[in-house]
Symmetry: C2
Subunit: 361 residues, 2 copies
Amino acid sequence: MEGIDLYKRVPKSDLVLLATKAMMAVGCNAERAEIVADNLVEADMRGVYSHGIARLQRYLTHISQGIINPANDPTVVFETPVSCVMDGNNGVGQYVAKKATEKAIEKASMSGIGLVSVRHSNHYGIAGYWAEMIMQNEMIGISSTNTAPLVVPTFGKKALLGTSPLAFAFPSDQEDLFMMDMATSVVPRGKLEVYARNQKSMPDGWCVDESGHSTKDPDRVLKGFVNKSTGGILPLGGEGEDFGGHKGFGLGLLVELITAGFSLGAYSGETYQKEGDVCHFFGAIRLDVFGNTSTIKSHISSILQKIKGSEKADGTEEIYLHNEKEVRARKKALSEGVGVDEPTHKALLDIVGKYNLGTVI
Amino acid sequence: MEGIDLYKRVPKSDLVLLATKAMMAVGCNAERAEIVADNLVEADMRGVYSHGIARLQRYLTHISQGIINPANDPTVVFETPVSCVMDGNNGVGQYVAKKATEKAIEKASMSGIGLVSVRHSNHYGIAGYWAEMIMQNEMIGISSTNTAPLVVPTFGKKALLGTSPLAFAFPSDQEDLFMMDMATSVVPRGKLEVYARNQKSMPDGWCVDESGHSTKDPDRVLKGFVNKSTGGILPLGGEGEDFGGHKGFGLGLLVELITAGFSLGAYSGETYQKEGDVCHFFGAIRLDVFGNTSTIKSHISSILQKIKGSEKADGTEEIYLHNEKEVRARKKALSEGVGVDEPTHKALLDIVGKYNLGTVI
């Protein structure tokens, strides 16, 4: 969940239509354009604005630069009854992810478990979107991706790891009771941009500068990304080992190995050289491989509710399970419209004009 | 890796013999006693002293209290070709873990993947021991367990989660190149004990007191555990959400769901009431479900070596991959003897005397 300076609330359908038409204007067929549009607007509805429709311009640019090849289909490289390796052929990330998610569900439907590792893909939007798609089939949904290099190894100074998210979604008795979608870095890049825009200094433990040591200056880190100099975001747990930074580093390595390692693809440090070359991982585990589905769902709900309902820290109001804030934000967006900030609104109007989309927002 | 005040170096075989005889003296058969002894001494050799032979007394006490039932065998509750749920019947944790690990390997040998969730078990030692046992079969090894309640949810004040480790071991071209064994808390309980012993104050962001807010006083937190009052260790990422504490909280919940959730067992908050009732999870994934084993191993090694070999932060000497320090410590322990501190040495002599073991250290 992130905040924005709200400028306007726009009905979901208007944003989806705009994004669909824009993606079709640059060479995507309807199926591809629609999955991108739905994925982006879903992120905004949940309050994950860094992965919302504000990214549309970046996708259009990537298509014009040949990083994304909108006409390419993903292909199967290798498969067994429980697994598959796919090549995204640098097509549209969300379309590759949809096909790989469907493959994981298909394998799990037949064999109980399906694991799919993907190479040569592109940015696939929020990781949790795919984990949830799997979860809707009474399966544990797992989704992960590597990303552009932004995160520095513990005791290193060069950003070679991604902010690489891990997402897990568990079916339960209640609506989306546990769906965690976490970057393995301490903060996402979008957070630095917010601090830079507001000329605020960051807390120690978020980022390192060119020396590999903590900095409070967001501009310095962001400039480093542009210039490809050293410095970057720290892994979850911060600098060094005192607060467990080596654990976040290890989770980042784990993501590289299940995405790029299994698929023989590019690790984060080698993505976006000519094409995207991003790697993903999807997992589907049928809940009934462990017994009766509804019994397990009830037990999962009961564990989560005991923890949620436990004593709160003095002065705090609520213990949030992962996805609760997002489910509430989504409901509000569905009834009142999706929040858009002024720069994004302006960028969208520019896109409407440039591609002559004829849509209104 | 943890430090100790080294008192003596003891040959591995002497420590293993002592622990084996002690466990046999309280009712374990040879197979059970040997796996406990090997698991404990392996932890010491790797420098994970909190999970080493210093724990032996606690196991002996647990057997005398009926928390561990040394004669009980684990049983299979439910299984499919890719999965199994086992009941440990509150037997010896390491023996239950060995049987469950063998089951995961057996399933993966047949089906490519094997996932095993276990209820009613006891402390199983270091998580990584079981992940490595799986890895030695050209499989990805996964091992996790819930624990006694020590960790407070984000915005909570009651310790209901465990320090619940997650371990992942990847086969690769080089010796144990990536084996991560991480508690999902910011620090282990053992670290508080070290600070308390040395009358040092802890950094903010490790623990909360009865109010649910940060404290620097390790005694206060340790007393809270004994009195079952509020307060405890924070999840990885620390207090609140600013440094990603909610991510560590989510990883802790993930462990509860794959261990207790899948097996219909007790979550950490309900362990150790009469018997141990600890829950575990093991996963084995054959590397060749993604293609040619040696090609994938080489690719994994090459990704890890690029990151390890990258520029170091100013003033630091090395970027450590997960398990490198432990492999070096183990080699040293094998050649020079296993490090033991003075209180542990004394406690072991007491055990030798009490049970008339006739061994020397």
